[in-house]
């Protein structure tokens, strides 16, 4: 503990000693006022300038980073949009090639149908009944006054003949109509065919129209990206965040699958590489070997999807010629199948090892072996084998979310870094401002401690200036009087 009494001039009179000490300190501080103000000012200016310098540097770096991120983001977005547009054009091309190449045949068919319909229509034209030319002859016979029953008989005969002809004509007319109806009836399928063809055409045209609209939308986005539109950039950034979240979720699910896969082969791997070998204090060689197998499967899956051009993580594979790419694809598939087969065998071995160990435990515990139903007990074994074969292929598809994760993570980290640096820059700027202002505050605070000498100084200056003014006034009045 500090012995404060050593500082006292008169230990018996503490108040007087403290007063004397205070007085001495005040005198010292007053004497050191100018250099102390200088130190305070210089220190604060140094700190302020330093923080402002760092702040400016951070803001510049963050701006550079933002621009670089923007360039990468837009380039990636442009590339993605170009791929989408390419795909849409491919679809349209397929549609045109597949459907609209049949258009001339369809047109010919429709023309034929139309011609047939027209012919049938013409055939259906109404044939009017023959005009009654014999009506005039009948009128002449009817005007004969004499002749007895001859005209009557004649008329009756004519009537009979006319009745006969009428009946014949009516029959002919009906038959003709019947034929026309038949023709019209036969036209029905042709109309239906035409209607169906028009419907199909309509559907294809609607699909084409939808594709055209989608291409228009993609083109608009593409143009906006090319124009470095802020909205497009924002949309791409948000899309990256969403992509990151989705791909991270899928990766978590895949990690679950990997864990199951690992559990399936970790025990039997100890049969291959030994159960008592350790790489580190707690890391078994067999566990690492199992993990290596799983990672190799994932790598083969990655190469398979790369060679299928589903993912594009390796530009070297994407730029390979088709023959080499196909060879790589076959090699990856073969290796993946072999690894899946190995894993399936390991799953079988796992079941056997567990069964063997269980039997030993029963033997050691002198417990009678449990009765087993052959079919029921083999279900888990078959299930494990199937799972061991299928899981590697399922894990191969992890490459898709992985690619998405890599791309989106770059954007997200870039945005986070930019924002972080910008925030830090602003904070340092504020700190610089604080230092700048605090120089004055510290100087004033220093002056408070020596307020008494300062007051004396002010009075002395005022007194001296007052005395000099009086002297000057007396001198001036004397000179005036002299003048």
């Amino acid at each position: 503990m500090t012995n404060w009494s050593a500082w006292l001039f008169w230990p018996d009179n503490v108040a007087l000693s403290v007063f004397a000490l205070g007085l001495l300190a005040m005198v010292f501080l007053y004497a050191a006022r100018k250099p102390m103000h200088g130190i305070i000012h210089s220190s604060c200016t140094l700190a302020s300038h330093g923080t402002r310098f760092v702040s400016r540097w951070l803001l510049q770096v963050s701006e550079g980073m933002r621009l670089r991120n923007q360039a990468v983001l837009l380039a990636h977005g442009q590339e993605s949009e170009a791929v989408l547009i390419d795909r849409e054009f491919e679809r349209v091309g397929n549609l045109i090639r597949k459907d609209l190449q049949e258009f001339p045949a369809l047109q010919r068919k429709m023309l034929e149908e139309a011609t047939r319909i027209e012919d049938d229509y013409r055939k259906c034209g109404t044939v009017p009944p023959p005009s009654p030319e014999w009506v005039t002859a009948l009128e002449s016979i009817a005007q004969i006054k004499s002749g007895g029953d001859i005209p009557r008989t004649l008329l009756e005969d004519i009537n009979k003949s006319i009745q006969k002809i009428h009946d014949k004509t009516i029959a002919e007319f009906r038959r003709s109509y019947e034929e026309r109806h038949k023709i019209l009836n036969a036209m029905q399928p042709s109309w239906r065919t035409v209607e169906k063809l028009i419907g199909e055409m309509d559907k294809k045209m609607v699909t084409l129209q939808t594709n055209a609209k989608q291409i228009d939308n993609h083109m608009q986005t593409f143009e906006a990206i090319r124009a470095k539109d802020s909205k497009a950039e924002h949309a791409l950034t948000v899309s990256s965040f969403v992509q990151l979240a989705i791909s991270a979720l899928v990766m978590v699910i895949a990690a679950g699958g990997t864990f199951i896969n690992y559990k399936l082969i970790a025990l039997p791997m100890s049969e291959m590489v030994g159960a008592s070998d350790y790489l580190t204090n707690s890391l078994k060689t067999s566990d690492v070997a199992a993990l290596v197998i799983i990672l190799m499967e994932a790598s083969m899956g990655l190469f398979l999807l790369e060679s299928l051009r589903i993912t594009q993580l390796f530009p070297r594979i994407a730029s390979m010629d088709d023959r080499m790419r196909r060879r790589l694809m076959i090699a990856s598939l073969v290796f993946l199948t072999i690894l899946a087969g190995i894993e399936s065998s390991l799953a079988l071995m796992r079941d056997m090892l567990i069964a063997d160990k269980t039997a030993l435990m029963r033997d050691l515990a002198s417990v009678a072996p449990a009765s087993s139903d052959g079919v029921l007990t083999s279900i888990p074994m078959v299930g494990q084998m199937v799972m061991g074969f299928v899981l590697p292929f399922a894990l191969a598809f992890v490459a898709i979310p992985f690619e998405s994760l890599v791309h989106s993570l770059r954007t997200v980290i870039g945005v986070a870094l930019t924002q972080g640096m910008r925030g830090l820059g602003v904070l340092l700027r504020f700190v610089g401002l604080f230092f700048k202002r605090s120089a004055k505050v510290l100087e004033l605070a220093y002056d408070i401690t020596i307020v008494v000498p300062l007051m004396l100084e002010r009075w002395a200056i005022a007194w001296r200036s007052g005395a000099s003014v009086e002297t000057e006034a007396v001198t001036l009045s004397k000179s005036r009087r002299a003048a």
Binding site: A275, S276, D277, L279, N281, L360
Partner: protein, 224 residues
């Protein structure tokens, strides 16, 4: 390319810098002494159960030996069965079955010995376990811990049990202990002092064979 290689090499070194290299350092070595002197020979069935527990608990790569404590036990002839389990689990299981058969044969034909040379058996056990290079070395003594040496048997010299765990199992109370429990307590204290002086890292007494068998073996990682 050279830079990539250096980075990969560095990562590899970092990953495996903690590797021991010697797999034996992670293995258990257990040497079990079964007292066959006097009436304690009747406890052989209990010893058989303990051995079964050890067989069920030990892993591939571990070592196990069972020896009987007789009048003079510093000899390999007293080792009933010994095995270092294969690294492959399937082979280890077969070895465990064979070991169990040997122990069964032994327990069916135990002959009581006149004296009890625990010290000699301890020295023999320490020798065996040192040869196995096990990472964790445990000597299990299934005995009443009452040493009785025959004429001409010299055991009053310092022994070396550096790094060993000593587990005394089923230390039954003798008739004299019942009369004066201090004899029992002093006997245990004397043995503890002796093995600790010899460098043993741990001294454990397990009498509750139904519920406290886990104390016989330590799990990996807890032993230093």
């Amino acid at each position: 390319m050279k830079t990539h290689f250096t980075v990969v090499l560095l990562l590899f070194v970092l990953l495996f810098s903690g590797a021991c290299g010697d797999s034996r350092m992670h293995s258990h070595g257990v040497y079990m002494l079964v007292d066959t002197s006097g009436t304690y020979a009747q406890e052989a069935n209990k010893a058989s159960k303990i051995i079964n527990y050890l067989l069920a608990t030990l892993n591939p790569g571990d070592s196990l030996a069972v020896a009987k404590v007789e009048s003079r036990s510093f000899t390999e002839k007293d080792i009933v069965a010994k095995v270092t389990f294969d690294k492959r689990p399937s082979q280890a299981t077969s070895q465990k079955r064979a070991f169990k058969e040997k122990i069964q044969t032994f327990t069916q034909a135990v002959k009581p010995s006149a004296y009890t040379d625990i010290t000699g058996a301890l020295i023999q056990g320490a020798e065996y376990l040192n040869e196995t290079n096990s990472g964790i070395k445990t000597i299990v003594i299934f005995s009443d811990m009452q040493e009785e040496l025959g004429k001409g048997t010299v055991r009053d010299f310092p022994i070396d049990l550096d790094g060993f765990r000593i587990v005394a199992l089923n230390v039954s109370k003798l008739r004299t202990d019942n009369a004066d429990p201090r004899l029992y307590l002093n006997r245990l204290a004397r043995w503890e002092a002796r093995v600790r002086k010899a460098g043993a890292t741990e001294w454990v007494v397990v009498n509750d064979l139904e519920n406290n068998l886990e104390s016989i073996l330590v799990t990996r990682g807890t032993n230093g």
